[in-house]
Symmetry: C2
Subunit: 194 residues, 2 copies
DNA sequence: CGCTACATGTAAGGTGTTACATGATTCC
DNA sequence: GGAATCATGTAACACCTTACATGTAGCG
């Protein structure tokens, strides 16, 4: 069951503008980074296959060995086909959740550290989203794609904000856990909450 | 760079209670399903390796060929080690976002259908979470793990609710897009919104 | 001239799924 | 007795990353 997802990502990126393989990887990392990823080991073989199928053409730029890849008409048709195929996401694998689910063996403090780290990452990401949003908005008038790009950006913002809200909630829950554990006699009146 | 994540998931699941390989897969699918997954092709070889390392013991149940696997003391130590390792999540690959990013080539209607489908799925998931929450709460008094389980459940609820909120927002954005496209003269007063 | 970034590619190896094969048990 | 479920396993294959190899171009 071939998924051809790399093909779709490459054709899609080239539909925005022609690029070299190197630039393609940079674009996928920097622009689609929140929801997609491809490595060189995928990109170059895929490009060669696409050229052989005539979905993409290679334009040697000046004298160097470097070539830009451009989407052809059949390539655009193929892209539409691939995008219309049913979505088949890889099975979920969230290392943070796995650790928290078995968090009793890890200890409340280690769990809190993991969550705090996640929250900090999420806050950084949120700031990055703002920068991307500004970028898209400045080119919005001349770019037909911008409404769709804002859609995916908004999804990232929503889920990231939800993650931060969850982290705050989780941190207070774990704080309660630690305090009740260090004071194993909940009915005791003498032990003050530190 | 071995990740041993399957090992951690299997040891973790067995730390809750002894099981057969088959039950292990069911438990991982049904209980960790929102954030984890393992297939038979992973579980059985991993179990054999764990037995060889003495991290898990095999208890033949009565006469059948079926055996339950039980976590040993060294196995518990190993589980703690694995959980303490740094998190290395697989690179993101979100098929829905890929399609929406290049949504111009797919068309607004197809995009709306994808989002509506996602929203419906998310709403179903949310109902499922409620059932799981009830299950956990009923056994909360006798189960030391329940606070941690509620943590991961809450994460699922937060992100799922965020997804639904995003979907609603996205659907209205796309509705605007369709109407402005089908009515290329925005200043026209005669064309009624269908 | 050396460092960094740009650029192209390959080979090895790990990870994980799918499909298949096989058989016992349970329930109707 | 037949169907569904429980149960164990393997082999082929798809997918993808990492590390390596190689070379150019621009800049201080």
């Amino acid at each position: 069951m071939r998924r051809n997802q790399t093909e779709a990502a490459v054709l899609g990126a080239l539909s925005v503008q022609p690029m070299t393989g190197y630039a393609l990887r940079e674009a996928i990392r920097d622009v689609l980074g929140h929801f997609w990823s491809e490595s060189f080991g995928q990109i170059y073989p895929t490009l060669r296959a696409l050229v052989q199928q005539g979905l993409v053409t290679q334009i040697p730029s000046s004298s160097n060995g470097r070539t830009s890849f451009t989407l052809t008409e059949p390539g655009l048709v193929r892209l539409r086909e691939l995008l219309a195929e049913s979505i088949q996401d890889p099975p979920p694998r969230n290392g943070l959740m796995l650790r928290l689910y078995f968090g009793r063996h890890l200890g409340p403090d280690a769990c809190r550290a993991l969550i705090a780290q996640t929250k900090a990452q999420a806050e950084g990401q949120l700031a990055g989203y703002q920068a991307i949003r500004d970028d898209i908005l400045t080119m919005a008038d001349s770019n037909q794609d911008s409404p769709y790009w804002l859609l995916t950006l908004s999804a990232g913002e929503h889920t990231t904000r939800a993650l931060i809200a969850w982290a705050d909630e989780a941190l207070t829950c774990l704080a309660d856990l630690t305090s009740t554990e260090s004071a194993p006699t909940p009915t005791s009146l003498e032990t003050p909450p530190n």
